[in-house]
């Protein structure tokens, strides 16, 4: 059984958000290993519900997106769109009885922007008690290292 297994998070993040470069990414990968799959995107507005759904379908217990602060999107309203798309995705998974909390977003703060590492920690803490996804099923052992996942640095 996977009950003692840490949840796997698919984390999409805007590359323009504060301190979200290669160093932070490597630090996170080292810290969380297979429990965290990082997907940098050029703007959170590029995120589609399908990205989140496919992550849940294929390998993740949860899918989150980190956006720039409101009013601070380089492309004006990418972060507002991301928020709406997250909401839409939540509605879809709810409609099949999957917990809404498996999809979410975190907006970086305008006043005190945090580095990607802190934001990822916050989300990982939030998810610490999330039960394994019923989509992946108890039989999917060691799924985070399975062949279905994307490789690091895959573009979305």
């Amino acid at each position: 059984m996977t009950s003692d297994k840490k949840p796997v998070l698919a984390l999409f993040y805007c590359q323009n958000t504060h301190a979200s470069g290669e160093d932070e990414r490597q630090a996170l990968e080292q810290k969380y290993g297979d429990s965290l799959k990082l997907f940098p995107i050029p703007c959170s507005g590029r995120l589609e519900p399908l990205h989140l759904l496919k992550a849940l379908e294929d390998f993740a217990d949860a899918g989150y997106v980190i956006t720039c602060p409101e009013g601070a999107c380089r492309y004006f309203e990418g972060n507002l769109r991301a928020k709406k798309r997250v909401e839409r995705t939540r509605e879809m998974i709810k409609s099949i009885g999957l917990e809404e909390e498996r999809i979410g977003f975190l907006i970086n703060s305008k006043e005190g922007p945090k580095p990607l590492t802190d934001l990822a920690d916050e989300i990982m803490d939030r998810l610490a008690n999330l039960p394994p996804s019923p989509v992946l099923g108890p039989s999917v052992q060691g799924r985070a290292t399975g062949s279905r996942q994307r490789s690091k640095g895959d573009k979305v």
Binding site: S95, I96, G137
Partner: protein, 222 residues
Amino acid sequence: MITAEQKPIEEIREMIAPYKRILVAGCGSCVAECAAGGEKETGMLASTLRMAAKMDGKDVVIQEKTLDRQCVNEFVIQLDESIDQYDAVLSLGCGAGVQAVAEMYPEIPIIPALDTEFLGETMSQGLWIENCLGCGDCMLHYFGGVCPLARCSKQLLNGPCGGSMDGICEVNPEVPCAWQTIIERLENFKALERLEEVYPPKDWSKKQGRGPRKIIREDQQR
């Protein structure tokens, strides 16, 4: 274009419940424009249905394919190569698309994933409005390019009804009074005298009452 909305997931799941190998078929035309049945929406629905099946421990195959146009045989025929693998098709085409697929493959059940709504216009991103009923005898030139059949709540050809307030329809406060708009348009091109005319009741026989309508263009035929 033709607009549509996705049916609730529960309804879709009920309709596909008897089947084990399902093709989710999108359409890249009108229903893609109104974000109901294009490639993205088809992928989302297929993914959601696969997850639901896994959660229920059901052993089903759900695959997806989006055709450029589901209501044109030349495109529908692209399903030929794979249709035998499925025992049902869940179509995200409009009602015409669903029926075109059903006509081409009468031995396989075709299930509608969308509710087809109306002939409309994309007003702004994420907003579509009905503005034509397809009456078969267009009168837009009389009414300043505003269709009173589609846009006036009372379908008045000799409006306004007198009930509008501040340009808003008295029947539905969410819509502008079509007749107010018609008058403003006619004023713009100094044609207000058209309002003097009395328009006879609409002849609906050009739209309905004789079964499905048909358009035949010999110059377009083989």
